[in-house]
C-alpha cells in the first residue's frame, strides 16, 4: 500500500528526512514513533502530497505521490490534530462539502452512516464551533473516511482527546484495520503504539532506526529514541 524509497526532505539547512525507505502492506496497522522533530509529520505530509520530497520517491496504492496526485488523494484519508473542519458550517454541511469535493456516490446515506457511527447524529445540524475537541476529532475521522479510502494517515489524532473519544477512535481504527484498511499513524505515546498497532517504525533525526512487529518490541527499547531532540 505504501512504498517509500530513499526519501529525503530538507528545509533550508535542516534535513527533516535523511533517506527513509520502507513499505507497508495492505491491511497493516503501523505506528510511526519518534521524538519531536524526528520527521514523522513531514513524512505523513509527504505521503499525503502536501509537501514535496527533495529526492527519492513515494507510492501509495501503486500510484506515484508526485506524478499521480489525484489518484493518491482519492485513496487516502488524513486525520491530523488539526481537524480541517469549517467552524461556521454544521457537521453535516462539512461532510457534504468534502463528499462533493471527492465525488462520493450515495453521499447522503454515507453521511448518515458515518454520523451515526461517530455518535454525532443528534448534533448533525449544529455548527462545528459548538463541538468539543473530542467531537470535532470524531467528525474529522468521519471526514477522512467519507470517500472510503483504503489508506488512513493519522497524524497525532489523539492530541487533546478525553478518554471516551480516545476509546471510540481506537475502536474505529482497529475496526478499520480489521476490514483490510491500511493505517499509518504517528503517536507520541509508546504505550499506546505498543498496545494498539501491529508494527512499529521509529524515526530519529530523519532516519528510520527501527522497523519491527509490535510484539517484538518492549517499551524500554523505544525510550532511547526519545532522549535526543
Amino acid at each position: 500500500m505504501i512504498v517509500c524509497r530513499d526519501i529525503r526532505k530538507t528545509f533550508g539547512p535542516m534535513q527533516a528526512l535523511a533517506g527513509v525507505s520502507f513499505s507497508i502492506g495492505e491491511g497493516e496497522l503501523a505506528a510511526l514513533l519518534g521524538a519531536n522533530g524526528a520527521g514523522k509529520s513531514t513524512l505523513l505530509h509527504l505521503l499525503a502530497g502536501l509537501t514535496r520530497a527533495s529526492s527519492g520517491s513515494a507510492e501509495v496504492a501503486g500510484f506515484n505521490v508526485r506524478r499521480q496526485p489525484h489518484e493518491v488523494r482519492r485513496r487516502i484519508g488524513v486525520v491530523s490534530h488539526q481537524t480541517y473542519l469549517y467552524e461556521e458550517l454544521s457537521a453535516e454541511e462539512n461532510l457534504r462539502f468534502y463528499g462533493r469535493m471527492y465525488g462520493v456516490t450515495g453521499l447522503q446515506e454515507r453521511i448518515d452512516d458515518l454520523l451515526a457511527m461517530m455518535e454525532l447524529w443528534p448534533r448533525r445540524d449544529d455548527l462545528v464551533r459548538t463541538f468539543s475537541r473530542g467531537m470535532q476529532q470524531r467528525l474529522a475521522l468521519a471526514r477522512a473516511m467519507l470517500h472510503r479510502p483504503p489508506l488512513l494517515l493519522l497524524d497525532e489524532p489523539f492530541t487533546g482527546l478525553d478518554l471516551h473519544a480516545t476509546d471510540l477512535l481506537t475502536r474505529f481504527i482497529e475496526g478499520a484495520a480489521a476490514g483490510k484498511m491500511t493505517v499509518l499513524m504517528t503517536v507520541h505515546d509508546p504505550d499506546y503504539a505498543l498496545a494498539h498497532s501491529r508494527r512499529l517504525l521509529v524515526l530519529q533525526k530523519g532516519r528510520l532506526v527501527l522497523d519491527q512487529p509490535a510484539e517484538r518490541v518492549r517499551k524500554e527499547d523505544l525510550l532511547p529514541y526519545y532522549k535526543e531532540k
Binding site: 502536501l50 514535496r52 491530523s80 480541517y84 469549517y86 461556521e88 454541511e93 455548527l127
Partner: protein, 225 residues
C-alpha cells in the same frame, strides 16, 4: 462535470461561511462607505472639484476595502489548517484558484453595489445612460484586482504579518489596473467619447487577462510549499 460541481461546492461553502460570519463583506462595506462619507464633507456639494476627484475617491474606497476582504480570504482557510483539507481533495489547484477568485469578485461586487449609488447621490454624479459602461469598468477593475489579490492573499496568509504584507505586495503590482480603472471612470463621468475611454479600457482588459493566466499558472506553487 465533477470539476464544475467542485467549483460550485467551494463557492457555495465560501458564501455560506460569509453569510454566517459576515466578517469580509461587513468590514469592506463599513470601510468603503466611511471613505465616501468623509470625502463628501471635504468638497462643496455639486462642485467641479468634487466631480473631478470622484473617480479617484471611488477607486480608493474599493481598492482599500478590497484589500481588507482579500486579507481574510485565505487567512480564514488557515484556521484549523482547512487549506490542507482543501489541498487533500482530488481537485486541480487551478480550480481552487478560480473558485477563490470568483468568490472574492462576488464579495467585492456586493460592496460596490451598495457603495456606488451612495457615491452617485452624495457626489451628485451624472451617470444617466452610462450605467452599463460604468458597471463594466467596475467589473473589469474588480476582476483584475481580485485575481492578483487572491494569489497574494494565499502568499501572505503564510506570513506572520499578513495584514501588512498583502498591501505591500498587492498595490505595486496592481498599479496598471488601478490607473486604467480610474482613467476610464473619470473619462466616462466627464462625458468623454468612447474613443477616449477605449485605450484605457483595453489596457484594463489586457492586464486582467495577463494577470489571470500568470496567477492561474503560479497558484499551484504558491499553495503547495
Amino acid at each position: 462535470m465533477l470539476a464544475l460541481t467542485q467549483l460550485y461546492t467551494i463557492l457555495h461553502k465560501d458564501l455560506l461561511q460569509e453569510l454566517r460570519s459576515k466578517e469580509i463583506v461587513t468590514t469592506m462595506l463599513v470601510f468603503s462607505l466611511t471613505v465616501v462619507v468623509i470625502f463628501n464633507f471635504v468638497f462643496d456639494p455639486g462642485s467641479a472639484e468634487m466631480r473631478a476627484t470622484a473617480p479617484g475617491i471611488l477607486w480608493v474606497a474599493f481598492v482599500f476595502a478590497s484589500n481588507l476582504g482579500l486579507s481574510r480570504s485565505f487567512a480564514r482557510e488557515q484556521e484549523n489548517s482547512m487549506m490542507h483539507g482543501l489541498l487533500l481533495c482530488p481537485v486541480d489547484r487551478s480550480l481552487l484558484f478560480t473558485a477563490k477568485v470568483i468568490g472574492n469578485i462576488l464579495f467585492i461586487t456586493l460592496v460596490e453595489i451598495v457603495t456606488l449609488p451612495v457615491m452617485v447621490i452624495f457626489f451628485d454624479l451624472e451617470v444617466g445612460r452610462l450605467w452599463p459602461l460604468l458597471l463594466a469598468i467596475l467589473l473589469l477593475g474588480t476582476a483584475g484586482f481580485a485575481t492578483v489579490g487572491t494569489i497574494f492573499s494565499a502568499i501572505s496568509a503564510n506570513t506572520r504579518s499578513r495584514e501588512v504584507m498583502l498591501p505591500i505586495m498587492l498595490f505595486p503590482v496592481t498599479v496598471p489596473i488601478i490607473l486604467a480603472a480610474i482613467k476610464s471612470t473619470s473619462y466616462l463621468l466627464a462625458g468623454r467619447e468612447l474613443a477616449d475611454i477605449w485605450p484605457w479600457l483595453r489596457l484594463l482588459i489586457g492586464f486582467d487577462v495577463l494577470y489571470f493566466f500568470v496567477c492561474f499558472l503560479l497558484y499551484e506553487y504558491v499553495v503547495e510549499e
